[in-house]
Every structure is written in structure tokens, then in C-alpha cells.
């Protein structure tokens, strides 16, 4: 039976330190100037009524991934665990998936000339029962990762306690990455 992975990003706990981004780069040897993961900071409102919002950008591991359905060579594929991966040998880098991805999570790796994106560190960590690099490094525990089928898992508990927002949910992509939206400060 497949897993039901979920990654929850709590915008209230994030401090924008970018440790996740650095950890990702080191773990996956991501070349300079391209990113599997970014955390954007937006300052809202006027002094002294300010608010700071954090926004995480990465692959959200759609249940219905548009990148997989457009890929002409099946290089983008979904594993039985529901994770979206890229078979580098089959990728011709036509960029159809980069265009089709509503989350702009994909890019061309300039060293390998193939399409790349976040894969939840599947090969190097998750398949060995370790947490993805970004989750394990996060100093404020803003990120949590786990299998939703396990009732005791952090993601299961958080999903029941908190209001989750799934990015661009109206597109029907059913992301496995969810956000707990910011509750503090000015919102607009």
C-alpha cells in the first residue's frame, strides 16, 4: 500500500532564515542561480502597523500533477507513493512541464541540462526513513513531514488541529504540501 506523504509549512513559525534553502542546495547539489526551494518574505502595511508574510515556493507534489500529464516521454512520472519524480534519462528538456507547472517549481539544471525540482529528498533521505533536508534543518520547526496514514504522526495531528491551505487548490491539483496561514500582523 502506498504512502500518503504530507509536508506542512507553518507560516507562523517561519523566521525566513533560509536554512531550508541552503540545506536543500547542499543535500541535492543544486547549482548556483537555480532553486528547488525558496522562502519569500513580504512586508505588508505601513509603519508601525506592519506584518511580515513568508511564502514557501517549491514542488507541492500534486496528486493530479499537470507536469506528468503533459510530459511526452513519461520522464516526469508519479511513483506508487504518489510522489512526482523525473527520470533524467528520458527527459529531452522540452520544457513543457516547466510551463505546465502552476507552481513554477521546475527549472533546467544548467550542469546536467535536464529538468529538475524538489523530490522531497526521496532518494537520499525519505526512502531511508529520514526527513527531507529542509525539514530536518528548520530551527523553528516550521516544517513537518510524515505519512498521513499514521495517526500519531506530526502531520496527521497538525492537520486535525490547524486550518490548512493548499496552494492554488482551485486548480484541482491536490498538493501534498500544505500551509498554515499567517495569523499575525497586517495582512494587506
Amino acid at each position: 500500500m502506498g504512502k500518503q506523504y504530507r509536508l506542512i509549512y507553518d507560516e507562523n513559525l517561519c523566521i525566513g532564515c533560509q536554512a531550508c534553502s541552503v540545506a536543500c542546495r547542499v543535500e541535492n547539489s543544486v547549482p548556483d542561480e537555480v532553486y528547488r526551494l525558496q522562502v519569500h518574505l513580504h512586508t505588508k502595511g505601513e509603519f508601525p502597523n506592519l506584518g511580515m508574510n513568508f511564502e514557501r515556493l517549491s514542488c507541492v507534489m500534486c496528486e493530479n500533477p499537470p507536469c506528468v500529464s503533459v510530459c511526452p516521454t513519461n520522464a516526469s512520472f508519479q511513483s506508487k507513493d504518489g510522489l512526482v519524480h523525473i527520470d533524467e534519462r528520458a527527459c529531452i528538456a522540452c520544457k513543457y512541464c516547466i510551463l505546465a507547472c502552476p507552481y513554477h517549481a521546475r527549472f533546467i539544471n544548467p550542469l546536467k541540462n535536464v529538468v529538475e525540482k524538489c523530490n522531497f529528498c526521496y532518494e537520499t533521505r525519505v526512502s531511508k526513513e529520514l526527513l527531507p533536508a529542509c525539514v530536518s534543518i528548520c530551527p523553528t520547526d516550521a516544517l513537518s513531514f510524515g505519512d498521513m496514514r499514521h495517526k500519531h504522526s506530526l502531520v496527521h495531528q497538525k492537520s486535525h488541529k490547524e486550518v490548512l491551505v493548499f496552494p492554488k487548490a482551485h486548480l484541482g491539483t491536490k498538493p501534498k504540501v500544505a500551509f498554515i496561514p499567517n495569523r499575525k500582523g497586517m495582512k494587506s
Binding site: E33, C71, P72, V114
Partner: protein, 321 residues
């Protein structure tokens, strides 16, 4: 600005550039030229050699432009030498795969069809006559009027013309791409560019073989397709507007902001639609046969279709929700 999280360049929504727009144009033109050639050939009395110059022009344009387009497409890949993987891996849910399969059938058929139209040149007068002579028997077996081949070619020309639209409309996070009218618009403008290119090519290179009656027929046909494009564009944008939300905002933005709005009004509407209509009601009034104006007319239609493909591709990627 240098943000703490690094470069934003990767998050640009502009992923496919002008070679794709030119391919979309050439594929539409090829399909349109094949249809044009067949339409003229199927007119009573045109079904036997010597072929009309317009039949020959369309027959020649179809394989040439599709091959040119495909070369362009291959070199736009980040790994051009890996293109063959596209030919052996199939994802039947991907419009790109379906396009490849369509091209597998369309391209050879367009070559055979062209070969039938240029038989004397290929096997007798041309520079490759000696080399190609062994294949003459094969082509003779197909005959001058292979109904099955012509009908299949016409069907696949329609498929190729329409697939270029579905290629873009399959991406549902781009409101300007993701409309059901786009494939029909691309088919119509592909046909119009195919007609224009056949007239232009025919009058420039096979002038002595062009029957005035056929040229007039094609001009009239183009004059029916061009207003149809206008109607499709109108329905596309009004339809998006009435869908509300993001789509309404993007429909307005795409028509009013920046360089792409300028390309739309000046290039697509001004050059591609208004100019041919203006020529039709002035210089070519009452179906006058003035070659200079006919060539000009074909040229502006072609330029208009190039602008349309560029506009849809770039504006579609620029204005996203």
C-alpha cells in the same frame, strides 16, 4: 533587487520562446497548404496532370514547412540530440505525444502527395532523376488520384492544425491558452496562412501554370476564413471576460497593456485582418485579378498569422493569474 532568498529569474513565466511560435505558425501553414492544395485539386476538372500551379505550390509547401518547423522545434530542446526519445516514448495523455504520432502519419503522406505532383521533375527533368528512377514504379502504383491517401492527408492536416492549439490549451494555469476556442482559432488561421502562402508561392514560382479561376476561388476562400478568425478572436476574449475572476482580468490586460497589446491591435488585427479586408473591398473589388495586390494581400495575411502565434504564445505566458 537582491533578495535574501536569491534570484527570481527561474520564476519567470516565460518558458517557451519565439522558435515555438514560429513552429506553431509553420505547422499551421503546412496543414493549411495541404488542405488548400487538396481543395483546389478536388475542384471539377483539376484532378489530372498537368497540375495547377496552386496545387503544386500547396503540395510543395506542406512537407517543406513542416520539416522546417520540426527542425526548429528540435533545436529549441535543451538537449536536441535526445529528440529521438520523443519518438520511442509515448504518453497518450500528452498533447505533445499525440502531435508526434499525428506527424508520423502526416509528414510521410505530405511527401508522397508532393511527389505525385512533381513526378516529371523528380524522375525526368530534375537533378536527382537518375537517383530516384527506381522509385518511379512505386509512385506509379499509387497513381495520380489516390483517394484514400488524399482523404487521410486532409484529415491529418486538420489534426495537425488543431493539435498546435491543444498543445497550448492543455495548460490550465494559463487563462489565455486554456480556452476551448484556441485550437479552432489556430486551425482557421493555419488554413488562412496556408491559402495565402499557396497563392504567394504559386504566383511567384509557378505563375504560368496558375489558372486564374483557381486563384480567384482561393482568394474568396481566404476572405471567408479571415473574418472567421476575427469572430473567433472576438468570442475568445469576450468569452474569457464573461468567465469572470482572473480570466476576465487577464482578458482585459492582454488587450490593453504593454507591447503585446500593441502587437495584437497593430499586428494581428491591423496587418493580419483589417488590411486584407481593406484590400478586398478596394483594390480587388468585384474579384478583379490584379496580381500585385493579390501578392500583397497574401503577404499581409501571412505576417498577421505570424503575429497571432507570437501574440498568443507570449501574451499567454506573460498574463497569468
Amino acid at each position: 533587487m537582491n533578495q535574501i532568498w536569491g534570484s527570481m529569474e527561474q520564476y519567470s513565466t516565460l518558458v517557451w520562446h519565439w522558435p515555438i511560435a514560429v513552429y506553431l505558425f509553420l505547422a499551421g501553414l503546412s496543414a493549411g497548404a495541404a488542405m488548400t492544395s487538396l481543395i483546389v485539386k478536388w475542384i471539377e476538372g483539376n484532378g489530372k496532370p498537368p497540375w495547377d500551379g496552386l496545387i503544386k505550390a500547396g503540395a510543395l509547401l506542406a512537407p517543406l514547412t513542416i520539416c522546417l518547423g520540426l527542425v526548429l522545434l528540435i533545436f529549441d530542446l535543451t538537449r536536441p540530440l535526445m529528440f529521438w526519445k520523443l519518438l520511442i516514448h509515448y504518453n497518450f495523455g500528452s498533447v505533445m505525444t499525440l502531435g508526434v504520432l499525428g506527424l508520423f502519419i502526416y509528414t510521410p503522406l505530405s511527401f508522397i502527395y508532393a511527389a505525385i505532383k512533381f513526378k516529371p521533375w523528380l524522375f525526368e527533368t530534375g537533378p536527382f532523376a537518375g537517383l530516384l528512377r527506381p522509385f518511379k514504379g512505386l509512385l506509379d502504383k499509387v497513381g495520380d488520384n489516390p483517394a484514400w491517401l488524399e482523404r487521410t492527408l486532409f484529415l491529418f492536416a486538420v489534426i495537425i492544425g488543431i493539435y498546435t492549439g491543444f498543445l497550448l490549451s492543455a495548460m490550465y494555469s494559463y487563462p489565455l491558452f486554456n480556452t476551448p476556442l484556441l485550437p479552432i482559432l489556430f486551425l482557421a488561421s493555419g488554413l488562412s496562412s496556408g491559402i495565402a502562402a499557396s497563392i504567394l508561392f504559386g504566383l511567384l514560382f509557378f505563375k504560368s501554370e496558375v489558372n486564374e479561376k483557381n486563384a480567384k476561388y482561393l482568394l474568396e476562400l481566404d476572405l471567408r476564413v479571415v473574418p472567421m478568425e476575427l469572430l473567433l478572436l472576438f468570442a475568445l476574449f469576450v468569452g474569457m471576460y464573461f468567465q469572470g475572476g482572473d480570466k476576465a482580468i487577464i482578458a482585459v490586460q492582454a488587450l490593453t497593456t504593454g507591447i503585446w497589446a500593441f502587437v495584437f491591435w497593430g499586428g494581428v488585427i491591423g496587418v493580419g485582418i483589417a488590411t486584407p479586408l481593406l484590400i478586398a473591398i478596394t483594390a480587388l473589388k468585384h474579384h478583379a485579378y490584379r496580381v500585385g495586390y493579390i501578392l500583397l494581400n497574401s503577404l499581409v495575411v501571412l505576417i498577421g498569422v505570424v503575429f497571432l502565434r507570437l501574440y498568443i504564445l507570449y501574451a499567454g505566458q506573460t498574463f497569468v493569474g
